[in-house]
Amino acid sequence: MTVVVSAGVPETEDVLAITEDVWTALLGDDATLVPRDVPPRSSFDADAWSAATTISGGWQGVVTIELGEAAARRLTTRMLALAADGEATDSDVADAVGELVNMVGGNVKGLLPGPSTLSLPAVAAGRAAFSRDTVLACRVDLAWQDGPVRVSVHVPQEGPR
């Protein structure tokens, strides 16, 4: 099977920089993200929340964020400015994780040829599942406060399937 990735994919460094910018804006001094060594093609290795947004038009692709359960809840608590012992509901976490992928996806879209549209985020309690019609274009694995964070960009697969 020949797999050809669509021309014009975001650079891993750019996706990393966007993710770091989002974390810094939301968390300030607590935003430190550290690189995480994960084998290629491995599924996300934690109880997760995930969210995806699709870019359509001049460029086609899907931006996905996966976060460990504890990290997702801590991040939501911070985004809502709840007290440290405040509890974010599942609805809050879904809202926060969706907003994260909206921010990262919107900025990724800005790097790529347009005009394109950004979909509303789709959020799930669980790790992301990717269509067999897409191929991974870039992936960033990080840890925030010991919790795993993954941002990936998939593009349509071209050529024979």
Binding site: T24, D95, N102, N107, K109, G110, S119
Partner: protein, 119 residues
């Protein structure tokens, strides 16, 4: 001053309200909408002085809300707070009658810069 914040994310509405406060614009009355349709209704019934709106929302997006407002003769000050800050989106926003576009992720300084010309 009355400010209408339109965003389908409750989390983001909270962050916008907090950032307004951090930017030194905390003393205003805030009303909230979950989508462009609701924002449209609230502009008509609540007469806000400023609308801060997300772009991508269900029911009615921000740009359609703004276009509908302008087509109906409304001159309410309107700014976008959106993850899409490309030049293309800024031009679309300005052409439709937006006063500014604040790109997410944002800082209190970005809010202050944008709002100073309106508030």
């Amino acid at each position: 001053m009355k400010i209408l914040i339109a965003d389908d994310s409750r989390v983001m509405r909270q962050i916008v309200i907090r950032t307004l406060r951090q930017a030194g614009h905390g003393g205003h009355e805030i009303i909230e909408a979950e989508n462009g349709r609701q924002a449209l209704d609230l502009v008509r019934t609540e007469a806000p002085d400023l609308v801060l709106s997300d772009w991508n929302m269900p029911e009615m997006n921000g740009i359609d809300c703004l276009s509908t407002l302008r087509a109906s003769g409304s001159t309410v000050a309107f700014g976008f707070v959106t993850s899409e800050g490309s030049e293309e989106m800024r031009q679309r926003a300005a052409s439709a009658g937006a006063a500014f576009l604040i790109a997410k992720p944002f800082t209190p300084e970005a809010f202050d810069d944008a709002l100073r010309g309106v508030i």
